[in-house]
Protein backbone atom coordinates (compact mmCIF):
# COMPACT_ATOMS: atom_id res chain seq x y z
CA UNK A 1 0.00 0.00 0.00
CA UNK A 2 1.38 3.30 -0.85
CA UNK A 3 1.29 6.63 0.84
CA UNK A 4 -1.84 8.56 0.08
CA UNK A 5 -1.80 12.21 0.72
CA UNK A 6 -4.43 14.68 -0.09
CA UNK A 7 -4.64 15.68 -3.67
CA UNK A 8 -4.17 19.19 -4.90
CA UNK A 9 -7.52 20.91 -5.24
CA UNK A 10 -7.68 21.12 -9.02
CA UNK A 11 -6.94 17.62 -10.20
CA UNK A 12 -9.52 17.43 -12.95
CA UNK A 13 -8.67 15.12 -15.79
CA UNK A 14 -5.52 16.48 -17.31
CA UNK A 15 -4.27 14.30 -20.17
CA UNK A 16 -1.24 12.10 -19.56
CA UNK A 17 0.92 13.87 -22.16
CA UNK A 18 0.38 17.16 -20.36
CA UNK A 19 1.72 15.63 -17.16
CA UNK A 20 4.81 14.18 -18.84
CA UNK A 21 5.48 17.44 -20.68
CA UNK A 22 4.96 19.39 -17.48
CA UNK A 23 7.47 17.26 -15.59
CA UNK A 24 10.07 17.62 -18.37
CA UNK A 25 9.54 21.39 -18.57
CA UNK A 26 9.83 21.67 -14.82
CA UNK A 27 13.15 19.80 -14.77
CA UNK A 28 14.60 21.95 -17.58
CA UNK A 29 13.52 25.13 -15.82
CA UNK A 30 14.99 23.79 -12.59
CA UNK A 31 18.44 23.28 -14.15
CA UNK A 32 18.34 26.71 -15.82
CA UNK A 33 17.70 28.44 -12.49
CA UNK A 34 20.13 26.23 -10.59
CA UNK A 35 22.99 27.19 -12.92
CA UNK A 36 22.40 30.88 -12.17
CA UNK A 37 22.43 30.56 -8.39
CA UNK A 38 26.07 31.53 -7.70
CA UNK A 39 25.71 34.73 -9.72
CA UNK A 40 22.36 35.44 -8.12
CA UNK A 41 23.69 35.10 -4.57
CA UNK A 42 26.71 37.34 -5.25
CA UNK A 43 24.40 39.92 -6.76
CA UNK A 44 22.12 39.81 -3.73
CA UNK A 45 25.04 40.04 -1.30
CA UNK A 46 26.39 43.06 -3.20
CA UNK A 47 23.07 44.81 -2.63
CA UNK A 48 23.51 44.56 1.13
CA UNK A 49 25.37 47.30 2.99
CA UNK A 50 28.19 45.05 4.23
CA UNK A 51 31.74 44.45 3.13
CA UNK A 52 31.71 41.25 1.04
CA UNK A 53 34.97 40.05 2.60
CA UNK A 54 34.15 40.82 6.23
CA UNK A 55 32.96 37.92 8.45
CA UNK A 56 29.38 39.22 8.15
CA UNK A 57 29.70 39.41 4.37
CA UNK A 58 31.06 35.86 4.20
CA UNK A 59 28.26 34.57 6.40
CA UNK A 60 25.57 36.37 4.39
CA UNK A 61 26.96 35.20 1.05
CA UNK A 62 27.08 31.64 2.37
CA UNK A 63 23.46 31.85 3.50
CA UNK A 64 22.13 33.49 0.35
CA UNK A 65 23.82 30.89 -1.82
CA UNK A 66 23.08 27.82 0.26
CA UNK A 67 19.48 28.43 1.23
CA UNK A 68 18.01 28.51 -2.32
CA UNK A 69 20.44 25.82 -3.48
CA UNK A 70 19.49 23.39 -0.73
CA UNK A 71 15.76 24.01 -1.10
CA UNK A 72 15.96 23.50 -4.88
CA UNK A 73 18.02 20.32 -4.62
CA UNK A 74 15.66 19.02 -2.02
CA UNK A 75 12.50 19.72 -4.03
CA UNK A 76 13.85 17.89 -7.08
CA UNK A 77 15.15 14.88 -5.18
CA UNK A 78 12.16 14.48 -2.93
CA UNK A 79 9.92 14.57 -6.00
CA UNK A 80 12.02 11.94 -7.79
CA UNK A 81 12.14 9.71 -4.72
CA UNK A 82 8.41 10.17 -4.15
CA UNK A 83 7.85 8.72 -7.63
CA UNK A 84 10.36 5.90 -7.03
CA UNK A 85 8.87 5.08 -3.62
CA UNK A 86 5.42 4.67 -5.12
CA UNK A 87 6.78 1.41 -6.56
CA UNK A 88 7.63 0.12 -3.08
CA UNK A 89 5.73 -0.38 0.16
CA UNK A 90 6.49 -1.74 3.62
CA UNK A 91 4.32 -4.75 2.80
CA UNK A 92 6.26 -5.61 -0.37
CA UNK A 93 9.55 -5.13 1.44
CA UNK A 94 8.42 -7.40 4.23
CA UNK A 95 7.39 -10.07 1.76
CA UNK A 96 10.83 -9.86 0.12
CA UNK A 97 12.62 -10.12 3.46
CA UNK A 98 10.61 -12.69 5.36
CA UNK A 99 12.48 -15.92 5.89
CA UNK A 100 15.63 -14.53 4.25
CA UNK A 101 18.88 -15.85 5.59
CA UNK A 102 21.07 -13.47 7.51
CA UNK A 103 23.83 -12.03 5.39
CA UNK A 104 21.92 -11.80 2.11
CA UNK A 105 18.95 -10.61 4.15
CA UNK A 106 20.96 -7.84 5.80
CA UNK A 107 22.22 -6.56 2.45
CA UNK A 108 18.71 -6.60 0.96
CA UNK A 109 17.19 -5.00 4.04
CA UNK A 110 19.67 -2.12 4.06
CA UNK A 111 19.16 -1.50 0.33
CA UNK A 112 15.38 -1.67 0.60
CA UNK A 113 15.66 0.74 3.52
CA UNK A 114 16.64 3.44 1.02
CA UNK A 115 13.60 3.09 -1.24
CA UNK A 116 10.80 1.91 1.04
CA UNK A 117 8.48 4.68 2.21
CA UNK A 118 9.10 4.99 5.91
CA UNK A 119 8.09 7.48 8.54
CA UNK A 120 9.58 7.29 12.01
CA UNK A 121 6.05 7.46 13.49
CA UNK A 122 5.47 4.03 11.89
CA UNK A 123 8.71 2.57 13.25
CA UNK A 124 6.97 0.52 15.95
CA UNK A 125 4.23 -1.12 13.85
CA UNK A 126 6.78 -1.69 11.11
CA UNK A 127 9.21 -3.33 13.50
CA UNK A 128 6.54 -5.65 14.88
CA UNK A 129 5.16 -6.30 11.42
CA UNK A 130 8.58 -7.41 10.19
CA UNK A 131 9.55 -9.53 13.19
CA UNK A 132 6.19 -11.27 13.52
CA UNK A 133 6.21 -12.15 9.81
CA UNK A 134 9.47 -14.05 10.19
CA UNK A 135 11.98 -11.39 9.17
CA UNK A 136 15.02 -12.15 11.37
CA UNK A 137 15.72 -9.59 14.11
CA UNK A 138 19.13 -8.67 12.72
CA UNK A 139 17.70 -8.16 9.22
CA UNK A 140 14.97 -5.92 10.68
CA UNK A 141 17.67 -3.85 12.36
CA UNK A 142 19.57 -3.47 9.10
CA UNK A 143 16.40 -1.98 7.64
CA UNK A 144 15.74 0.29 10.61
CA UNK A 145 19.31 1.63 10.61
CA UNK A 146 19.50 2.20 6.86
CA UNK A 147 16.06 3.76 6.41
CA UNK A 148 16.77 7.06 8.18
CA UNK A 149 20.55 7.16 7.70
CA UNK A 150 21.01 6.42 4.02
CA UNK A 151 18.23 8.52 2.62
CA UNK A 152 18.14 10.51 -0.58
CA UNK A 153 18.06 13.81 1.27
CA UNK A 154 21.37 13.04 2.98
CA UNK A 155 23.17 11.73 -0.08
CA UNK A 156 22.04 14.39 -2.52
CA UNK A 157 22.64 17.30 -0.17
CA UNK A 158 26.14 16.00 0.52
CA UNK A 159 26.67 15.72 -3.23
CA UNK A 160 25.48 19.25 -3.86
CA UNK A 161 27.14 20.97 -0.92
CA UNK A 162 30.26 18.99 -0.12
CA UNK A 163 31.06 17.09 -3.30
CA UNK A 164 30.31 13.75 -4.90
CA UNK A 165 33.23 11.91 -3.30
CA UNK A 166 32.01 12.51 0.23
CA UNK A 167 28.47 11.61 -0.86
CA UNK A 168 29.60 8.26 -2.29
CA UNK A 169 31.70 7.54 0.80
CA UNK A 170 28.74 8.31 3.03
CA UNK A 171 26.41 6.12 0.96
CA UNK A 172 28.79 3.14 0.96
CA UNK A 173 29.73 3.34 4.62
CA UNK A 174 26.21 4.15 5.77
CA UNK A 175 24.98 1.00 4.01
CA UNK A 176 27.99 -0.87 5.38
CA UNK A 177 27.19 0.05 8.96
CA UNK A 178 23.52 -0.88 8.52
CA UNK A 179 24.44 -4.26 7.03
CA UNK A 180 27.21 -5.17 9.49
CA UNK A 181 25.50 -3.82 12.62
CA UNK A 182 22.30 -5.70 11.73
CA UNK A 183 24.28 -8.85 11.09
CA UNK A 184 26.17 -8.55 14.40
CA UNK A 185 22.92 -7.97 16.32
CA UNK A 186 21.52 -11.04 14.57
CA UNK A 187 24.51 -13.14 15.68
CA UNK A 188 23.81 -12.29 19.32
CA UNK A 189 20.38 -14.00 19.08
CA UNK A 190 18.61 -11.45 21.22
CA UNK A 191 15.04 -12.33 20.25
CA UNK A 192 14.38 -12.92 23.97
CA UNK A 193 15.12 -9.26 24.68
CA UNK A 194 12.03 -7.97 22.92
CA UNK A 195 9.27 -6.70 25.17
CA UNK A 196 7.01 -9.56 26.23
CA UNK A 197 3.86 -8.31 24.56
CA UNK A 198 5.65 -8.15 21.22
CA UNK A 199 6.46 -11.85 21.34
CA UNK A 200 2.79 -12.65 21.79
CA UNK A 201 1.55 -10.68 18.82
CA UNK A 202 0.08 -12.57 15.96
CA UNK A 203 -0.64 -10.84 12.74
CA UNK A 204 -4.32 -10.67 11.96
CA UNK A 205 -5.66 -12.30 8.84
CA UNK A 206 -6.50 -8.84 7.55
CA UNK A 207 -2.80 -8.48 6.71
CA UNK A 208 -3.37 -9.45 3.10
CA UNK A 209 -6.92 -8.19 2.82
CA UNK A 210 -6.10 -4.97 1.04
CA UNK A 211 -5.39 -5.50 -2.64
CA UNK A 212 -2.51 -3.64 -4.26
CA UNK A 213 -3.76 -0.63 -6.11
CA UNK A 214 -2.98 -0.10 -9.75
CA UNK A 215 -1.28 3.23 -10.01
CA UNK A 216 -0.86 5.14 -13.22
CA UNK A 217 2.26 7.17 -13.90
CA UNK A 218 0.19 10.27 -13.16
CA UNK A 219 -0.72 8.90 -9.72
CA UNK A 220 2.99 8.44 -9.12
CA UNK A 221 3.74 12.04 -10.16
CA UNK A 222 1.03 13.14 -7.76
CA UNK A 223 2.68 11.17 -4.98
CA UNK A 224 5.98 12.84 -5.85
CA UNK A 225 4.36 16.27 -5.58
CA UNK A 226 2.62 15.28 -2.36
CA UNK A 227 5.90 14.18 -0.79
CA UNK A 228 7.57 17.45 -1.80
CA UNK A 229 4.80 19.39 -0.10
CA UNK A 230 4.91 17.10 2.91
CA UNK A 231 8.68 16.80 3.41
CA UNK A 232 9.84 20.24 2.33
CA UNK A 233 6.95 21.73 4.30
CA UNK A 234 8.10 19.88 7.38
CA UNK A 235 11.86 20.39 7.23
CA UNK A 236 12.44 23.81 5.66
CA UNK A 237 12.76 25.37 9.09
CA UNK A 238 15.46 22.85 10.02
CA UNK A 239 17.28 23.62 6.82
CA UNK A 240 17.26 27.35 7.41
CA UNK A 241 18.42 26.79 11.00
CA UNK A 242 21.21 24.50 9.78
CA UNK A 243 22.30 26.92 7.09
CA UNK A 244 22.27 29.85 9.52
CA UNK A 245 24.47 27.93 11.93
CA UNK A 246 26.68 26.87 9.02
CA UNK A 247 26.88 30.51 7.90
CA UNK A 248 27.95 31.61 11.39
CA UNK A 249 30.65 28.93 11.47
CA UNK A 250 31.68 29.94 7.98
CA UNK A 251 31.94 33.62 8.80
CA UNK A 252 33.15 33.72 12.39
CA UNK A 253 34.85 30.53 13.61
CA UNK A 254 38.59 30.86 13.11
CA UNK A 255 40.20 28.10 11.09
CA UNK A 256 42.89 27.36 13.71
CA UNK A 257 40.31 26.77 16.43
CA UNK A 258 38.42 24.31 14.23
CA UNK A 259 41.55 22.42 13.24
CA UNK A 260 42.62 22.03 16.87
CA UNK A 261 39.19 20.76 17.98
CA UNK A 262 37.97 18.77 15.00
CA UNK A 263 41.14 18.28 12.97
CA UNK A 264 42.56 14.82 12.37
CA UNK A 265 45.27 15.45 14.98
CA UNK A 266 42.78 15.23 17.83
CA UNK A 267 42.00 11.50 18.21
CA UNK A 268 39.38 12.09 20.91
CA UNK A 269 37.32 14.22 18.57
CA UNK A 270 35.75 11.17 16.87
CA UNK A 271 34.21 9.63 20.02
CA UNK A 272 33.31 13.14 21.20
CA UNK A 273 31.51 13.76 17.89
CA UNK A 274 29.50 10.54 18.28
CA UNK A 275 28.49 11.31 21.86
CA UNK A 276 27.53 14.89 21.07
CA UNK A 277 25.50 13.65 18.11
CA UNK A 278 23.18 11.29 20.04
CA UNK A 279 20.93 13.80 21.85
CA UNK A 280 20.90 16.11 18.84
CA UNK A 281 17.76 15.59 16.88
CA UNK A 282 17.64 17.02 13.46
CA UNK A 283 17.56 15.39 10.09
CA UNK A 284 19.94 15.19 7.19
CA UNK A 285 18.69 18.45 5.74
CA UNK A 286 19.55 20.40 8.86
CA UNK A 287 22.89 18.78 9.54
CA UNK A 288 24.53 18.93 6.12
CA UNK A 289 24.95 22.70 5.86
CA UNK A 290 26.77 22.44 9.21
CA UNK A 291 28.88 19.59 7.84
CA UNK A 292 29.79 21.71 4.83
CA UNK A 293 30.90 24.61 6.99
CA UNK A 294 32.87 22.37 9.37
CA UNK A 295 34.76 20.69 6.51
CA UNK A 296 35.39 24.04 4.92
CA UNK A 297 37.07 25.24 8.10
CA UNK A 298 39.45 22.30 8.27
CA UNK A 299 37.56 19.77 10.39
CA UNK A 300 38.66 16.21 9.59
CA UNK A 301 36.39 14.24 7.24
CA UNK A 302 36.16 11.20 9.54
CA UNK A 303 35.17 13.28 12.53
CA UNK A 304 32.50 15.14 10.58
CA UNK A 305 31.10 11.91 9.05
CA UNK A 306 30.96 10.33 12.51
CA UNK A 307 29.13 13.36 13.85
CA UNK A 308 26.63 13.34 11.01
CA UNK A 309 25.96 9.59 11.21
CA UNK A 310 25.52 9.77 14.95
CA UNK A 311 23.04 12.65 14.73
CA UNK A 312 20.95 10.84 12.12
CA UNK A 313 21.21 7.16 13.10
CA UNK A 314 21.38 7.34 16.89
CA UNK A 315 18.65 9.69 17.90
CA UNK A 316 17.29 9.79 21.40
CA UNK A 317 13.65 10.37 20.38
CA UNK A 318 13.72 7.33 18.11
CA UNK A 319 15.12 5.21 20.93
CA UNK A 320 12.27 6.35 23.15
CA UNK A 321 9.80 5.24 20.47
CA UNK A 322 11.53 1.87 20.10
CA UNK A 323 11.53 1.46 23.87
CA UNK A 324 7.92 0.29 23.48
CA UNK A 325 9.07 -2.83 21.68
CA UNK A 326 12.68 -3.35 22.75
CA UNK A 327 14.02 -3.84 26.24
CA UNK A 328 16.58 -1.33 27.46
CA UNK A 329 19.27 -4.01 27.17
CA UNK A 330 18.48 -4.50 23.49
CA UNK A 331 18.54 -0.74 22.87
CA UNK A 332 21.92 -0.58 24.61
CA UNK A 333 23.25 -3.30 22.30
CA UNK A 334 21.84 -1.42 19.30
CA UNK A 335 23.53 1.84 20.35
CA UNK A 336 26.76 0.00 21.18
CA UNK A 337 26.98 -1.83 17.86
CA UNK A 338 25.97 1.09 15.65
CA UNK A 339 28.13 3.51 17.67
CA UNK A 340 31.18 1.25 17.28
CA UNK A 341 30.59 1.08 13.54
CA UNK A 342 30.42 4.87 13.33
CA UNK A 343 33.59 5.19 15.42
CA UNK A 344 35.42 2.85 13.09
CA UNK A 345 34.31 4.80 10.02
CA UNK A 346 35.45 8.03 11.70
CA UNK A 347 38.90 6.72 12.61
CA UNK A 348 39.32 5.03 9.25
CA UNK A 349 38.68 8.22 7.32
CA UNK A 350 40.83 10.36 9.54
CA UNK A 351 43.63 7.86 8.96
CA UNK A 352 43.18 7.75 5.18
CA UNK A 353 42.62 11.41 4.35
Amino acid sequence: MSIHTQDPAGHAARPAWAWHAGVVAFVILWFAIYKQLPALSEWLTALLPVDRFSPTGEALAFFLYDAPKVIMLLALIVFAMGVVRSFFSPEKTRALLSGKREGVGNVMAASLGIVTPFCSCSAVPLFIGFVSAGVPLGVTFSFLIAAPMVNEVAVILLWGLVGWKVAVVYLIFGLGIAIVAGWVIGRFHLEGWLQDWVKEIHLGSAASALPEEDLTMIDRYRQGIASVRDIVGKIWIWILAGISLGAIIHGYVPQEAMVSIMGSGAWWSVPAAVVVGIPMYTNAAGIIPIVEALLDKGAALGTVLAFMMSVIALSLPEMLILRKVLTTRLIAVFVGVVGSGILMVGFLFNAIF
Binding site: M1, P117, P125, I201, L203
Partner: protein, 78 residues
Amino acid sequence: MKIIKVLGSGCKNCETTAELIARKAADAGTDVTVEKVTDMGTIMAYGVMSTPGVVIDEKLVHMGGVPKPEQVDAWVKA
Protein backbone atom coordinates in the same frame (compact mmCIF):
# COMPACT_ATOMS: atom_id res chain seq x y z
CA MET B 1 -24.61 3.26 11.93
CA LYS B 2 -21.07 2.79 10.79
CA ILE B 3 -18.24 2.31 13.22
CA ILE B 4 -15.04 3.72 11.76
CA LYS B 5 -11.75 3.10 13.53
CA VAL B 6 -8.62 5.08 12.82
CA LEU B 7 -5.55 3.04 13.71
CA GLY B 8 -2.40 4.89 14.63
CA SER B 9 -0.06 5.78 17.44
CA GLY B 10 -1.46 9.30 17.73
CA CYS B 11 0.74 10.99 15.16
CA LYS B 12 -0.37 14.07 13.26
CA ASN B 13 -1.50 12.14 10.18
CA CYS B 14 -3.78 10.00 12.34
CA GLU B 15 -5.44 13.09 13.84
CA THR B 16 -5.88 14.57 10.36
CA THR B 17 -7.44 11.34 9.12
CA ALA B 18 -9.91 11.11 12.00
CA GLU B 19 -10.95 14.75 11.57
CA LEU B 20 -11.32 14.33 7.81
CA ILE B 21 -13.61 11.32 8.24
CA ALA B 22 -15.73 13.01 10.92
CA ARG B 23 -16.14 16.12 8.77
CA LYS B 24 -16.99 14.20 5.59
CA ALA B 25 -19.52 12.09 7.50
CA ALA B 26 -21.19 15.19 8.88
CA ASP B 27 -21.31 16.70 5.39
CA ALA B 28 -22.89 13.55 4.00
CA GLY B 29 -25.31 13.37 6.93
CA THR B 30 -24.22 9.82 7.73
CA ASP B 31 -24.37 8.55 11.27
CA VAL B 32 -20.89 7.34 12.16
CA THR B 33 -18.76 6.82 15.23
CA VAL B 34 -15.10 7.61 14.73
CA GLU B 35 -12.84 5.82 17.19
CA LYS B 36 -9.13 6.26 17.49
CA VAL B 37 -7.28 3.05 18.21
CA THR B 38 -3.82 3.60 19.64
CA ASP B 39 -3.11 0.24 21.25
CA MET B 40 -0.29 -1.30 19.25
CA GLY B 41 -1.44 -4.87 19.80
CA THR B 42 -4.89 -4.06 18.40
CA ILE B 43 -3.40 -2.19 15.46
CA MET B 44 -1.19 -5.14 14.62
CA ALA B 45 -4.15 -7.50 14.89
CA TYR B 46 -5.60 -5.72 11.83
CA GLY B 47 -2.31 -6.33 10.04
CA VAL B 48 -1.48 -2.64 9.69
CA MET B 49 2.23 -1.84 9.39
CA SER B 50 2.13 1.69 8.17
CA THR B 51 -0.20 4.02 9.98
CA PRO B 52 -2.75 5.54 9.86
CA GLY B 53 -5.03 2.66 8.97
CA VAL B 54 -8.81 2.86 8.59
CA VAL B 55 -11.23 0.10 9.59
CA ILE B 56 -14.94 0.31 8.77
CA ASP B 57 -17.24 -2.13 10.57
CA GLU B 58 -14.26 -4.37 11.34
CA LYS B 59 -13.04 -4.38 7.74
CA LEU B 60 -9.66 -2.82 6.91
CA VAL B 61 -10.12 -0.38 4.01
CA HIS B 62 -6.98 1.72 4.01
CA MET B 63 -3.49 2.09 5.42
CA GLY B 64 -0.26 3.99 4.96
CA GLY B 65 -1.26 7.61 5.10
CA VAL B 66 -3.98 10.23 5.10
CA PRO B 67 -6.70 8.97 2.72
CA LYS B 68 -7.77 10.98 -0.31
CA PRO B 69 -10.95 13.03 0.16
CA GLU B 70 -12.70 11.03 -2.60
CA GLN B 71 -11.96 7.80 -0.76
CA VAL B 72 -13.44 9.18 2.42
CA ASP B 73 -16.54 10.36 0.51
CA ALA B 74 -17.08 6.79 -0.68
CA TRP B 75 -16.70 5.40 2.85
CA VAL B 76 -19.22 7.68 4.50
CA LYS B 77 -21.86 7.45 1.77
CA ALA B 78 -25.05 6.31 3.49
